[in-house]
Symmetry: C2
Subunit: 454 residues, 2 copies
C-alpha cells in the first residue's frame, strides 16, 4: 500500500478563496439565454426580475476567470468543508485492479449532497440584496433541503414547492426542510394562479418539476422582496460548484497525484460542471490533458441521444431558452426510473464543451447502477445516492478495463451524496423489482417535436 | 475569532493505535457479571458460549490500560475516521456566550453514529475466531446498521432481530441493513422457540428489545459457528469506543486546548464511556481535573433516579446480572418517549464512576431536547440524532450559564450521530404534538420490585 492516506483533507488555510469560472477559458462560449418571447438574448435587467442582481452578473460573466468567494460564504463553507478526497484502497483491492481510484465525497453534510455549495451562495446574495426570501422547487429534495439550511443560517424566508408525489412519498425530506424552518407546499397547489389552473385541468395530478418551477417563479415575481433560485443547469451554479473541483485539485497537488480520467454523474450538470472545472481549465489552456466522462441514465440520455438546440429549461415553458443538449422540455422519463438525473436538458456550458469534443458521455442502465451502488456500499462503507452511483458504475467499469489491459490509470470520480433518503429505490432493488427502461426513438421524437423554433 | 480552525482532523499518522481501558485506572473496579442461576461471577468459559473468545478476555480484563487495535480494524477505521473535533463558532456567536464550545462529531459514516467503532471490532474478533456469523438485536436501528456494515466488509453473516414495531415503522433502516446483506427478522418471530412462545402468549405484540435480545441469543447459542454481539453496556464496547475520546484528546492537544467540562448522552453508556475514557483516566491518575456530565432522558432516568444494584441486562432475564444504576429490567419508558436512550440500566463501569462521584448526571425532558436539536441544526448545519441532542441541550444550558456568570469555560460534548432516520420524531415536534413524560415514584416502584435478590 502506498503512503497516500485514505483521506486527504485540506487545512482551513489551504481552502480555495475564489471560485473558478470555466467559461473564461472557453474559446467557444456557451450560447446566451434567450427571451422566449423575443428570441433575443436576455438582458441583465430582464433576468433581474427573477434572479438576484449579483447572481445575474455571475450568470452573464463569461470572461472573469476567478471570482472572490465572499467572507460570509467562506465561513459557512468551513462548517462542512473541506470535503475529503478519498483513496478507495478497499475498492481497488476488491476489484483487483492496477488502477488507482479516488473520489471526492460531498455527502457529509445534513443536506446530504453537494447542493449546499450553491445554496449558501444564492441565499447569501439574496440576503445582501436586502430580500426577505427566496422561492424554489424541489423534486427528490436534495436542493430544497440545502436551500432550507442556507436560509435558516442567514435568517431568510424559504418557500419550497415540492412535487406532490415526493411530498407524500418522501415525508422525511419534507420534515428536514420544515425543521430548518422552510415553508414546504405540495405542488400543484391552490396558492398560485398556475397551480390552480393545473389542478382545474388535471384534478388529482401528483405534480411535476415543471409545474413546481412555474409555481415558484410565479410567487417570486409576484411577491415583494422575493426572488427565484435554481439548484442546477445555470452558469452561476456551476461557478459555485467549482469549489468541488478546486478543493480536489489542491488535494491532488498536496499528495502529488494527477488524475488521468475524471468521471461525474450528469443531470443538469451542477456536480459534473463543478468537479471538472479547474481540470478542464488546464485542458483548455493546454497545460494538462485529462479524459472527462459524463455519466447519465439510459432512461434520460440528454448528452448521448439528445439534440444540441435551444429549448425551455422547464416543462411549463415560462423560463428563458437555453442552448443545450436536450430531449425536449416535453420529455418525461419513465415512471420506473428511480435513479435521479431526470432533467430533460443540460447545462449550456457542459453542452458546449461536449459539442467541442472536450468531454465524453456514456449512458448506463439503472439496475447496473444499483448493483454498483450496493457493491460500493459494502466495500467502501458509504451508501451512495443513486445519482452518484452512475459515476461509481463507470469508475468500476474503467478500473476493470484497466485490470484487463494492465494500465495503472488514476481514476477520479465525484461522489455527490448519500442515499439515506433513497431507500424506497434501494428496497425495489433489494426485492429484485427494479427494471430498466430505454426510450425508443419514437419516445424521443415526442420530446423533440416540442423544441421551439429559434 | 481565534486561530483555532472550525474543524480539527488528525493526520492518519496521528490516529490512536491502541484502545484505552479506563478500568485499569479505577481504584474501585466495576463489579463482575454474575451467573443468574448461581449468582457467582461469570467465568470466561461460561461467557464464551455467548460471546467471542477475545471479546470475553477484553470484557474481564480490568488491569491492562492499553490494548493494541488490530491492523485490520485500524484499516477500517481509516475509511471513516478520524472524525472531526469541531469548534462551534456559530453556536457560540448565536448564544452570545464567552464559553468556548467544541464537539466531536461521530455521524459522518453510513451507519450514522458512533456504533460502527465497536461493530467492526466485534465482527473482526468473530471472523478471527473462524465463526460464520453473528446475531444481534436492534431497536432504533443504529447498532444493526453498523453491524451489517462491518459484517459486509469482513464477509461475515449477520442476523439481526429488529423489534417488530421498528421493522414496520422504520423500513428505511431495514433496507440499509438489507443493502449490506444482513438477514433482518422482525421480532418476535416464529424462527425461534422463545419467539414462538411470546407470540402464543401475546398474539399481535409489536415486540420489545428484551424479546429481540432473547431471540438473538437463542440463535447464537443454538447455531454452529455463531456468537451474539451487543452494541452497548458491556466493558468491551466502552473499550472500543475509547477511540472517540482518544482522538478527541489528541486533537485538543494538537490545538493546545483543555476542555473544562465534558458532556455526553447516556443510554447504555457506549458513547459516554468512550468519549470520557482518556480524560477520566487523567482524573483518576490525578493528572488533570475535568467535570463530566452524563445526560439522560427524564422519562428513563437510570442515573438520577435508579438504584445501584445487580440487575438483568435484558427484559427477558436470560442475560448475566450486572451491577449498575437501573430502573429494573421490567421498566419500560412511556410510549410517547421518542428520543432514544431507552435502556433501563447503564454500563457497570460508568455506574461505578458515578457512584464514586467522579461524574455528574442530569435528566432532561424531550421537548426541550428537540428544541435544542432544532436550534443546533439551524445554527451549526447538522441535524442531530435525538440521543445526541440530549448532550446538545445541556451544553447550550452550560454556555448560557457562562453568559450569566461571564465564565470563559471550554465546553466539550459528544455529537454521536445524525437524525436522518428519526424524522418521525422530528415531525411530531414540528407539528407541536410532542409531549413530556416523567415517571412517578409509583411507576418506578414497579421496575424496582423486579430487581433480583443477590
Amino acid at each position: 500500500m502506498s503512503n497516500i492516506p485514505y483521506k486527504t483533507y485540506l487545512e482551513e488555510s489551504e481552502m480555495p478563496k475564489q471560485w473558478y469560472n470555466v467559461r473564461a477559458d472557453m474559446k467557444n462560449k456557451p450560447a446566451p439565454l434567450l427571451n422566449p418571447a423575443t428570441k433575443k438574448p436576455m438582458t441583465a435587467e430582464e433576468l433581474s426580475t427573477v434572479f438576484c442582481k449579483e447572481l445575474v452578473e455571475q450568470e452573464l460573466d463569461d470572461t472573469t476567470a476567478y471570482i472572490d468567494i465572499p467572507d460570509e460564504i467562506l465561513e459557512f463553507y468551513k462548517m462542512y468543508r473541506p470535503s475529503p478526497l478519498v483513496r478507495a484502497y478497499c475498492l481497488e483491492k476488491a476489484l483487483d485492479t492496477p488502477a488507482k481510484i479516488y473520489y471526492k465525497f460531498e455527502g457529509n453534510n445534513t443536506s446530504g449532497s453537494h447542493k449546499l455549495n450553491s445554496a449558501i451562495a444564492q441565499a447569501y446574495y439574496a440576503k445582501k440584496q436586502g430580500l426577505k426570501g427566496v422561492t424554489t422547487e424541489t423534486g427528490a429534495g436534495q436542493w430544497g433541503t440545502a436551500l432550507s439550511m442556507a436560509c435558516a443560517y442567514l435568517g431568510l424566508d424559504c418557500k419550497v414547492f415540492m412535487v406532490k408525489v415526493s411530498y407524500e412519498q418522501k415525508p422525511f425530506r419534507r420534515e428536514v426542510m420544515r425543521t430548518y424552518g422552510a415553508n414546504v407546499t405540495p405542488s400543484p397547489s391552490t396558492t398560485t394562479e398556475v397551480g390552480k389552473k393545473i389542478l382545474e385541468a388535471h384534478p388529482g395530478t401528483t405534480g411535476s418539476l415543471g409545474c413546481a418551477i412555474s409555481e415558484a417563479v410565479e410567487v417570486a415575481t409576484h411577491t415583494e422582496g422575493y426572488r427565484y433560485v435554481l439548484g442546477s443547469v445555470l452558469n452561476q451554479v456551476l461557478l459555485h460548484q467549482s469549489i468541488i473541483g478546486l478543493e480536489s485539485k489542491a488535494a491532488f497537488d498536496k499528495i502529488g497525484v494527477k488524475p488521468d480520467v475524471i468521471i461525474g454523474c450528469a443531470g443538469g450538470g451542477s456536480n459534473l460542471g463543478g468537479l471538472i472545472a479547474p481540470f478542464m481549465g488546464e485542458k483548455l489552456r493546454g497545460e494538462n490533458d485529462y479524459e472527462f466522462i459524463a455519466v447519465e441514465p439510459a432512461s434520460c440520455p440528454s448528452f448521448t441521444r439528445g439534440k444540441f438546440a435551444y429549448d425551455f429549461c422547464d416543462t411549463g415553458m415560462i423560463c428563458p431558452l437555453a442552448k443545450m443538449y436536450t430531449l425536449g422540455s416535453g420529455f418525461i422519463p419513465s415512471a420506473n426510473h428511480a435513479g435521479g438525473l431526470r432533467f430533460h436538458g443540460m447545462s449550456s456550458t457542459l453542452s458546449q464543451l461536449y459539442d467541442d469534443k472536450l468531454m465524453k458521455a456514456v449512458a448506463v442502465e439503472q439496475t447496473s447502477v444499483f448493483e454498483a451502488a450496493e457493491k460500493f456500499a459494502r466495500i467502501e462503507g458509504i451508501l451512495p445516492a443513486p445519482e452518484s452511483s452512475h459515476a461509481i458504475k463507470v469508475a468500476i467499469d474503467e478500473a476493470l478495463r484497466c485490470k484487463e489491459t494492465g494500465e495503472e490509470k488514476t481514476i477520479f470520480f465525484g461522489l455527490t451524496g448519500t442515499g439515506y433518503f433513497d431507500m424506497v429505490a434501494y428496497q425495489k432493488f433489494n426485492d429484485g423489482e427494479m427494471t430498466d427502461y430505454i426510450p425508443t426513438d419514437e419516445d424521443l421524437a415526442v420530446g423533440f417535436a416540442g423544441l421551439p423554433e429559434v
